[in-house]
């Protein structure tokens, strides 16, 4: 029952679209067509993308890198911070506790900003999504432009 509850609005939506089709209600039909156009591609590719993210999650030794971070400074520290940020997943506010930890461990404020910046725009799971939906060219360009902008911060 609880499972069904989460889908309740979507089910109502689909029911309304179905009714529109039955009674020839043009607006409902158009909305249904929109939905189908967006949904079919997503259900073809999204499971695959998530499998990729799951694989990534089980193979990448995040903890090992975390141990070494925070102490180095200069380019090496910055590089590590970016690398680590790219390996994470989740929304930005999930990054605050770890960034705080880095700060307490003695990372420079610059590296903290870079960590948060890279975390929000260059996470690998997000990049797979970005490439999937917006194309490789867009992703590469955005990442390459974003990176130096942060470093300047």
């Amino acid at each position: 029952m609880k499972h069904l509850q989460k889908y309740i609005f979507s089910l109502i939506f689909l029911a309304l679209v179905g009714l529109s089709y039955l009674f020839g209600f043009a607006a409902g039909n158009q909305i249904g067509m929109n939905f189908w156009m967006f949904a079919k591609e997503m259900f073809l590719f999204l499971p695959l993308m998530f499998v990729l993210i799951g694989l990534f999650d089980v193979w990448v030794p995040r903890e090992k890198i975390e141990k070494h971070i925070g102490e180095e400074s200069g380019w090496k520290g910055t590089g590590l911070v970016i690398l680590l940020a790219m390996l994470q997943a989740g929304p930005l506010y999930g990054a605050f506790p770890f960034a705080y930890l880095l700060w307490k461990k003695g990372s420079s404020i610059k590296n903290i900003f870079i960590y948060l910046g890279a975390y929000s725009t260059m996470k690998i799971p997000m990049l797979t999504f970005e490439i999937g939906f917006l194309g490789l060219k867009f992703s590469l360009l955005r990442t390459l432009i974003t990176l130096p902008v942060f470093m300047k911060n």
Partner: protein
């Protein structure tokens, strides 16, 4: 899309060769994530289908299309700053918007502010880093996002 699928299958093959157990665990993990996202995703698609029906494409293109320029980016930046949408929902949404005629540059600005600027999460951020640092970081990110949109417009 196709390239991502091919990469997934190739990596899946390698992963199976190295460690079957771990691969299965990864697949399970991924699919669990997908299932937990599914209700929100369906809802988002339903809402977008309705909104895009109500808002004519011409209007969308006028405000956030190729020729919208600075105003388009400003709007995208504002929307991105206040919205709190997880990336897994945001990218599919952007895919839909692109298809409806929104410019890639506006999308870049939207994505960048969405992920880097968190107006709603500001109090949370301030708890960790203090108000001054948090506000500076958010402001810099906001400006940087518009700048990124500008540079991308030179290439796309």
């Amino acid at each position: 899309m196709l390239s991502i699928s091919i990469i997934t299958f190739v990596l899946l093959g390698f992963s199976f060769i190295f460690d079957v157990q771990r691969t299965l665990k990864g697949i399970r993990k991924g699919l669990t994530m997908f299932m937990s996202l599914l209700p929100v995703l369906l809802l988002m698609l339903a809402l977008v289908s309705i909104v895009l029906f109500l808002v004519p494409n011409e209007l969308l293109i006028q405000y956030m299309g190729r020729d919208a320029g600075m105003e388009g980016w400003a709007m995208a930046a504002l929307l991105g700053s206040v919205a709190l949408i997880p990336g897994f929902i945001a990218y599919p949404l952007c895919g839909v918007l692109i298809k409806s005629g929104v410019a890639y540059t506006s999308i870049a600005v939207f994505i960048t502010t969405l992920t880097m600027v968190g107006f709603v999460t500001l109090p949370l951020e301030a708890k960790f880093f203090g108000w001054k640092t948090s506000i500076i970081r958010n402001l810099l990110s906001f400006v940087a996002a518009i700048f990124i949109g500008f540079i991308m417009s030179l290439f796309l």
